[in-house]
Structure formats: structure tokens, C-alpha cells
């Protein structure tokens, strides 16, 4: 059914047709509309699920884990500080191997308090064991929620999945999208069949103390789940294509790659913006392409190696920063290519805290980068504003007060 809806509402509709049975959730801007709509759908009898109005995100993730381990399909949504507050339970979900799906509406972490888009929240959860996918359009968000359960519940994977969607740019803008019917989806995504669960018919203890002698294998097994997901992601996309005639779902998404000498590498909606920059640069006669990283975990190592080798240069855009180092995606791309493809690469940091990033800015930065004029890491839109001048005045006042 085609609908005109916000990204957040489309996520809720997709969770409904995906046959989600339990939804523990806690409101946070800019995710709130996801859970408001789920609550509405349940209240109106349009969604057959249990909504748990938890008192915190830590509890949301705890209930997500325990519900899933009891044998049902569970879903939640959060953002920024909510995701950070879940941190312990993110590890828990992955460690106890529950195939849950959670949408994270990408937002900056405070202070300074900021409800707008960047990727700092999800990047900071990189090592929790969750699969991470970043979507770039409304339709992709819908299709990815449905595919997400195919991937996580696949018995070769059994790892939780975080679907990342840019705040406001996607979450609050309205777009026309197709939401398939529940029956069609059920043919693609059958009911959840756990391999093990909390069940009085076979009483086992889950989450036991594990001594050093047995521990490493439990962690390696998580990595095997992640590794297997690489294959399963493509299978889920292929079958989705056959069932619904759309393809959103590879590890990466390429644009004008074929003869490109230089590539822009980006995630989320900035990648969509970068397409326009690529078009403009192409029009000016420059062989530039775009490589959008969809899955950040598992990281598309093979795809990057094969798609980046032989290029003259990369510009990796990060809407996040790993303090004391560089943009997180930049580090990951270089690590994937190291020893396989020797491509000069630079890093553009832009769009933190929801600052608007235009395709002109991306084009200008890419022009500089691909001419070899950019620093290794460039804070692309950083400049002193009027407000920052006031900070300097306040600092001068403190200097007077606190100087010996």
C-alpha cells in the first residue's frame, strides 16, 4: 500500500507488517513518533503486539532481550542518549544472541544539548556486537525493517540489528513509500523460530557465569554470526527483490562507480546528498563516483577492497568523530583496504549536530581532496560563530576571577 508518511511513521508501519509481537520503548526526540504510532496502531486494534511503556532505555533494551529470549519477535526504537543509556544492554543482547531489531534515529550526543542529526550515537556502539545498517531513504527504511528480521533471525546469524536512520532529514520528512501488506510480508518473513529459549518444557539456565577456559569461543561465535550475516544480507535482499520487486539491501550501494577515478565514501542521508555532488562533478568532466556504506557492522571489507582498488583517491565523509583519532568510518575504510588497495584517502568531518550539509559543500571539499589539496582530516564546516565570540567573553571573565 502506498502511503505518504514521515520516516518515523513508516518505521512503525513496517514493524507492524513485520509481525512484531512485543515493543518495549521509551520516548526520546527524534524517535518519539515511531513509538507513538505503534501505541496508536495497538490501541486501534490494527497491530497485534504488546507495548511495554518502560521507564528508561536501559529497561527498554532489557525487556527487548528478555521478551526475545522467551520466544517472540521484539522491536524497539531509540536515539542518541537513549542508545547510550542502553549501552550495557546492547552488549547483553548480542552476548545472549537474541535476534532483535531496533531503530536508532541518529542524533548528536550532548552536552551541548542537541537533538539534531549526526552519527556519534551509533558509531559509539560499534563494538557491542549489533549489526548496524544506515539507510538513506524512506522506502529503504521500510524495506530494511522487514529484511532486518530475515537477517537477524537467520540461524546462521542470531545477532541483534540496529537500523540507523538520520534524524529529521529522514525521520520527520514526509515521503511517498510502499508498505507491503502483512500477508505478503509473512510469505517473505515467516514467524520467528528460535533455536533455544526460556521454556518450562526444557528448563535451561541462560547467561551463566563462563570461566576463562570456555569464554573466548562464546565471543568468537558472535563474530561468526556477524561474518555469516555478510552472505545472509545478500540473500535477504535477493529474496526481497523477488517478492516485492525492489532492491534495497546490499552491504554497500554504489553510484557511477564504473569508470570513477575518485570516490566519495559516506553513510546515511549524506550519501544521498553526495549523489548530487557526483552528478555536478561528472557534468564538469570529472570521473567521480559514490560508495555508500550501508552496513557498518559487519563491515563491507570485501566490497570495499574490490570497489576501491585501482582508484586514484577516496574522500570519506564522517558525521561523527572518534576523539583522539579521526572520523570512525575513515578509520574503518583504511583498515579494510590496508595491504589490499593502496588508495590515497582523506577524511571530511561535516554535519555534526545536524548542521546542514549541502551538495555544493561536498563538491567543493571533494574537488580540493581529489586535487590533493586537503589535509588528511578536515573539519569541513567548522568556523567561529557569533555565539562562540560570547563564549570567549565569558572565558575572559572567568580568567579574571580565577587567575591567581
Amino acid at each position: 500500500m502506498r502511503v505518504l508518511e514521515s520516516g518515523n511513521h513508516l518505521i512503525a508501519l513496517a514493524a507492524n507488517v513485520a509481525g512484531v509481537e512485543v515493543v518495549p520503548a521509551y520516548p526520546i526526540t527524534p524517535q518519539t513518533q515511531v513509538i507513538e504510532m505503534i501505541a496508536d496502531l495497538i490501541a486501534e486494534g490494527k497491530m497485534d503486539a504488546e507495548y511495554i511503556p518502560v521507564e528508561s532505555e536501559h529497561s527498554a533494551c532489557a525487556a527487548l532481550v528478555s521478551a526475545s529470549l522467551t520466544g517472540v519477535r521484539a522491536f524497539s526504537a531509540t536515539s542518541a542518549h537513549g542508545l547510550a543509556y542502553m549501552h550495557e544492554m546492547l552488549h547483553y543482547a548480542a552476548g545472549i544472541r537474541v535476534p532483535v531489531v531496533m531503530v536508532n534515529v541518529n542524533r548528536a550526543l550532548g552536552p551541548g544539548w542537541n537533538i539534531w542529526c549526526d552519527h556519534q550515537d551509533s558509531i559509539s556502539q560499534r563494538d557491542t556486537g549489533w549489526l548496524q545498517v544506515y539507510v538513506a531513504s524512506h522506502q529503504e527504511a521500510v524495506d530494511t525493517v522487514i529484511q532486518a528480521y530475515r537477517i537477524t533471525e537467520d540461524h546462521r546469524v542470531l545477532m541483534p540489528l540496529m537500523l540507523n536512520m538520520d534524524a529529521f532529514v529522514l525521520s520527520h520528512t514526509y515521503m511517498d513509500a510502499d508498505v507491503p501488506g502483512r500477508e505478503e510480508v509473512e510469505a517473505y518473513l515467516p514467524p520467528y523460530r528460535p533455536l533455544w529459549k526460556l521454556d518450562p518444557r526444557l528448563p535451561m539456565t541462560h547467561g551463566s557465569v563462563v570461566y576463562p577456559v570456555d569464554f573466548s569461543e562464546t565471543r568468537q561465535s558472535m563474530q561468526i554470526g556477524q561474518d555469516n550475516a555478510r552472505q545472509v544480507v545478500y540473500e535477504a535482499a535477493d529474496e526481497f527483490m523477488r517478492a516485492f520487486g525492489r532492491r534495497h539491501g546490499d552491504m554497500v550501494d554504489g553510484y557511477k562507480l564504473e569508470d570513477a577515478e575518485h570516490l566519495i565514501v559516506a553513510m546515511g542521508s549524506l550519501a544521498a546528498e553526495s549523489r548530487v555532488a557526483v552528478d555536478e562533478m561528472r557534468a564538469a568532466g570529472r570521473a567521480v563516483g559514490l560508495l555508500r556504506v550501508r552496513f557498518f557492522r559487519p563491515f563491507p571489507i570485501d566490497e570495499l577492497r574490490s570497489l576501491c582498488s585501482g582508484r586514484s583517491g577516496l574522500m570519506v565523509i564522517d558525521r561523527d568523530f572518534s576523539y583522539g583519532m579521526e572520523g570512525a568510518l575513515f578509520s574503518e575504510v583504511k583498515a579494510a583496504l590496508y595491504g589490499h588497495a593502496d588508495v590515497p584517502s582523506t577524511n571530511l568531518i561535516v554535519g555534526l549536530g545536524g548542521r546542514d550539509v549541502t551538495y555544493e559543500q561536498i563538491r567543493e571539499a571533494a574537488d580540493r581532496a581529489f586535487r590533493g589539496e586537503a589535509d588528511e582530516v578536515t573539519w569541513g564546516d567548522s568556523h567561529i560563530t557569533k555565539a562562540h565570540e560570547i563564549t570567549r567573553e565569558m572565558l575572559a571573565e572567568f580568567d579574571k576571577l580565577l587567575s591567581p
Binding site: 525487556a63 528478555s66 520466544g71 541462560h206 551463566s208
Partner: protein, 310 residues
């Protein structure tokens, strides 16, 4: 009237666990399982009980059990409770099993209070048992919000300077259908309260004083005797709260009815090691008086719950 003969013979807590000798939590688990039976999903909040059940790949607990993170007892119960409702709706389960959370005082009074409070307010259908050993025993006996005034712990080397909080009263303030306190020295009172909790829908909070032999510094053989003296001295009051009414039970009831004389708090302080420092110090008498005052205040507050007050 239930007698020992009525307690089921089947043991769902299996002998040969990693629990210390005379562990109150293992005995309480045995008793709770007898009341609730096999159709129970158990969530163990990080505590001694996460460890005393054994380690991978073996377990002493013959129930479906999930060890949950420290701050998540209530929330984890909400997740399981919602999931079993969905499974019943789906026809995969004939009826909802009991959902039992087992947490220590650290996981209840301190780090877990938010999650427990949330679950109670959501009216999650589960039984929450707090086995209160009045300290963080699992990490080597540090102070908790349940540690009484004057008690030694590794982080109150001179004895705790503050009173413990009264979390059962906090749970009553949630207007949940059942709150009860229990003691291992009064096993039939404990068993009957568990049976009652099993039949009531909604959030049930049961708290048991759990004298920890190594933590409280008394011989393991005295575990029941210390439990009993806690009740006889008023330092642990037995009651249940239902329909807006508090009823004292077992020995606490007999004391308040004047049938048995209350023992001085001092008798309780003297049969364990954790009050030794405070008893021998110049402030000892003051601490003793303050604890006696705490007991009478607690009783008065509980008596305030009688219907005519409402």
C-alpha cells in the same frame, strides 16, 4: 493450615551447588520453588545467586532461568510477561507461567529500584523476591542502601552512619496488590505468602531477610537462629499488605499481640560479628538506642495502615 507435610518433595534447587555453607538464598530458592512449581520462568538479577547456581555449562536450578543485568529485574520481568502473553495469544502456551525475579538488596534497593518501580507501576504480572542480606555480599560485603545503622561492611569500616531504607513501604506506595516480608525461620509463613502471591495477578513484592554467614560473621549453623532473632528483636518485621491493609504475621504478630515478649535489639546485634565494633565503642549504646527507635517507628508506621486510619 499448611504443615511441613504439605510441602512438595520435589526439589527444583539441586544439591551440590556452588553456594556457601548455610546460604540463605539457596534455602529461600528451595522454598520459593516448592510454592511456585515447575511452570515458572526465573530471572536472576546479578547477585550471589548468579554465582551460587553454578557456572557454565552446569546449573543447580531446574527451571528456565535467565541471568539478567544488575539494574534490570523489573524490566526483564516486563519483557517475559509481555512475551508469554503473546505466546498464549498465539496458542503456543496453554497458560502463562509464573514469572519470578530473584534479586539481592543491591539489585533492589540501589541499582535496580528504578526498574522495579517501573514494572510495579506498569502492573507487570510477576513476583519479585528480594533476598536482603543487607550488603553487597557477592562483591565481598560492601555497604548497600539496606545496610542497617552501625553495621560493619568493607566500605563502612567504622559502622554505617545512616539508617537503612524501608523499600517494602516504597513498594506499598506503588499500590501493588501484594507486599509481604518473610523470614527463613518461619518457613510456613514464607511458603503461604508465596502461594498467595502466585494466585494474585499483578506485581507482588516479597522481601526476605537473608543473614549471610560470611558477610555477617556468624557460624553457618546459626543462619536460622539469626533469622529468628531478627524477627524476635523486631529488626525484621513479618507482615503482609493487601487491599490497603497491613497484617502482621507469625512471630511479629505474636509479639505485637503481647503473647511473646520482644527481645532487645542488643540480643540480635550480639549474635553476629558485623556490629562488634559499634557495640564495643563509646557510641555503641547510642546506636543501639537509635536502632530500637527505628524498630518502634517502623511498627508504628505499619500500624498506621490499619483500615480505620484510611
Amino acid at each position: 493450615m499448611v504443615s511441613f507435610k504439605d510441602l512438595p518433595e520435589e526439589e527444583l534447587f539441586l544439591a551440590g551447588s556452588t553456594a556457601c555453607q548455610g546460604c540463605p538464598s539457596s534455602l529461600a530458592l528451595r522454598m520459593a520453588f516448592k510454592a511456585l512449581g515447575k511452570d515458572t520462568i526465573l530471572l536472576v538479577v546479578a547477585s550471589c545467586t548468579s554465582v551460587l547456581q553454578g557456572s557454565y555449562p552446569l546449573s543447580a536450578i531446574n527451571l528456565p532461568l535467565m541471568n539478567v543485568a544488575f539494574a534490570t529485574g523489573g524490566a526483564s520481568a516486563s519483557g517475559v510477561s509481555a512475551a508469554v502473553k503473546a505466546l498464549v495469544k498465539r496458542g503456543e502456551l496453554a497458560e502463562e507461567p509464573n514469572v519470578l525475579v530473584w534479586a539481592g538488596d543491591g539489585g533492589t534497593y540501589d541499582i535496580g529500584i528504578q526498574s522495579l518501580s517501573g514494572a510495579a507501576e506498569r502492573e507487570t504480572d510477576f513476583i519479585y523476591v528480594c533476598y536482603n542480606n543487607e550488603m553487597y555480599s557477592n562483591t565481598g560485603t560492601q555497604r548497600s542502601g539496606a545496610t542497617p545503622l552501625g553495621a560493619w561492611t568493607t566500605t563502612t569500616p567504622g559502622g554505617k552512619a545512616q539508617h537503612r531504607k524501608d523499600i517494602a513501604q516504597i513498594m506499598i506506595a506503588h499500590r501493588i496488590p501484594y507486599v509481604a516480608t518473610v523470614s527463613l525461620a518461619y518457613p510456613l509463613d514464607f511458603y503461604q505468602k508465596m502461594l498467595k502471591a502466585k494466585e494474585i495477578r499483578g506485581t507482588k513484592y516479597i522481601e526476605m531477610l537473608a543473614p549471610c554467614p560470611p558477610g555477617w560473621k556468624f557460624p553457618s549453623a546459626q543462619m536460622i537462629a539469626v533469622s529468628r532473632m531478627a524477627v524476635q528483636s523486631g529488626m525484621w518485621l513479618l507482615y503482609e499488605h493487601e487491599d490497603g491493609e497491613t497484617r502482621f504475621t507469625a512471630a511479629t504478630k505474636r509479639i505485637l499481640e503481647g503473647k511473646v515478649k520482644k527481645r532487645p535489639v542488643k540480643d540480635y546485634l550480639e549474635i553476629q560479628g558485623r556490629f562488634r565494633q559499634i557495640l564495643s565503642s563509646p557510641e555503641g549504646q547510642q546506636a543501639e538506642d537509635m536502632l530500637e527507635k527505628e524498630v518502634s517507628e517502623s511498627i508504628r508506621r505499619l500500624q498506621g495502615w490499619v483500615p480505620e486510619y484510611i
